[in-house]
């Protein structure tokens, strides 16, 4: 296989939910073996993008190909087969709260394989060791800090040896140390396990430090893409606003509203309920 062939290929994707168009004309190619960052303001549809890629949501039109599977035209069982080759780290880890850390990591193995207990134990402990949490195997998810929960979820996401790993906002709410740990794990797993990684984030500085390629989403489409360096030097206003963290610009600070003074001075007092 070509090292730089796209493993995830979205073409002209359109998706709307609840009467709102989230994506319109979205094109994105993710190259095999790379760490790809997807950035964009909150509410642009980054999580939705991951749901489209994994087939948890279905695009209205356009095509989505993931590792040779046409996601938009696949049955539930075909999608399940595809997801066994993918791992996803949810925003807050999404560990199963009624079972221990060990059992959480063992969960996919128990559901999909008939491995002997001894081998399951070996696999789970090595994955936990790789995220530095072998010592926490006996804890319950409620006993973990936010950063630890995410590392356990990461161990769970790689326990089936996936080809593709998706991260949804892996840094939100973490202290700088935990953040650094996750950052290094993303890079290390990608290179050591031969993965393709997609990291959704709005933490510009963190993510550009590990990403090979960056996509910037805004208004339902990709507005800029390139290496982190290319984006930093981009002349585009949207990119400047986002990378520079400016409050106002092409992405407006104000939610659409009637004229400010007129509304303040309105005598009949418009109601907000």
């Amino acid at each position: 296989m070509n090292a730089t062939s796209p493993i995830i290929d979205l073409r002209d994707v359109r998706y709307s939910v609840g009467g709102r168009t989230i994506f319109d004309g979205l094109d994105m190619q993710v190259l095999r073996g790379q760490v790809t960052a997807v950035m964009g303001p909150s509410g642009t549809g980054k999580t939705t993008l991951l749901r489209l890629i994994t087939g948890q949501a279905t695009a209205d039109s356009g095509s989505i190909d993931v590792a040779g599977v046409a996601v938009t035209r696949s049955s539930r069982s075909q999608l399940y087969a595809m997801r066994q080759r993918m791992g996803m780290l949810f925003q807050n880890g999404a560990l199963l709260t009624d079972i221990s850390v060990f059992e959480n990591v063992a969960f996919p193995l128990r559901e999909h394989t008939r491995l002997p207990e001894r081998l399951i134990r070996h696999l789970v402990l090595t994955k936990l060791q790789s995220v530095g949490l072998r010592g926490a195997a006996g804890l319950m998810p409620a006993e973990l800090s936010g950063g630890m929960a995410r590392r356990v979820a990461l161990a769970r996401a790689i326990v089936m040896d996936p080809q593709i790993l998706l991260y949804d906002e892996p840094f939100v709410g973490l202290d700088p140390i935990s953040m650094g740990v996750i950052l290094r794990l993303i890079r290390r797993f990608n290179d050591a396990l031969g993965l393709t990684s997609i990291v959704v984030s709005h933490d510009v500085h963190e993510i550009t430090a590990v990403a090979d390629r960056v996509f910037l989403l805004s208004g339902g489409r990709v507005v800029a893409q390139g290496t982190p360096l290319e984006l930093r030097d981009s002349p585009s206003d949207v990119v400047k606003q986002f990378v520079g963290g400016l409050a106002d610009g092409p992405v407006p600070f104000h939610y659409p509203a009637p004229d400010y003074f007129e509304e303040l001075l309105a005598r009949d007092g418009g109601r907000f309920a």
Partner: protein, 254 residues
Amino acid sequence: MIRDFLDSLSESIERLGDTIRFLARILAQVPSAVLRPQLIFDQIYNAGALSLVIIMLSGLFVGMVLGLQGYDLLQRFGSEDALGTAAAIGLVRELGPVVTALLFAGRAGTALASEIGLMRATDQLSAMEMMAVDPVRRVVVPRFLGGVIAMPLLAAIFSMIGIYGAQLVGVQIMHVDAGSFWSQMQASVELRDINEGIVKSAVFGIACSLIAVYQGYHSAPTAEGVGTATTRTVVTSAVIVLFLDYLITAFFLK
């Protein structure tokens, strides 16, 4: 007013359709869920253990009230010997299944709805989907079956303790003859009465468990959504149980 009523009626019918479709999805997964009986046993235990004490206590009190009211009514006709029969039939055919179902919905049903709703709100169900595990098969079906199996057992326990409570009041306090209390009961409670009780508690078990897992699974992924799901579980279960109770009673008396 009338418009609101019609709107909410059509919404209820729509929701009923959704619920029945969800039931079909559950039933399709039952065979593969049965291959892992431990998951189901755990849920029978959960649903049963949660409700056992309140059902035993309520059964005792309901039986004692039946003892008092039944005695008062029957002695007007000089037939207080029939107290055993009256209490047994009232409990087995009516109060056992209905009161157990209402308590079951309030205790086990709300626990199920909020547990599943919380799993939805914290992405645990999506995480299962992503691990190629169908949450309906892994989470919903064992809980549904656990409730369906636990409910008739609880109703039977309720009725037994209720009869004991009626006996306590009737025989021990009101001095109805113990021999006629039990022998009349034995002679005149028919298989038909027991069947009605079994059918009712089985149907109520299916209805309450289905409503609970449906509400939990389809709750909005927020704290508010979980709250709404638990409230709806109790209210919907109560109305549906009373409605089904009428249908089944009419069917058996036909």
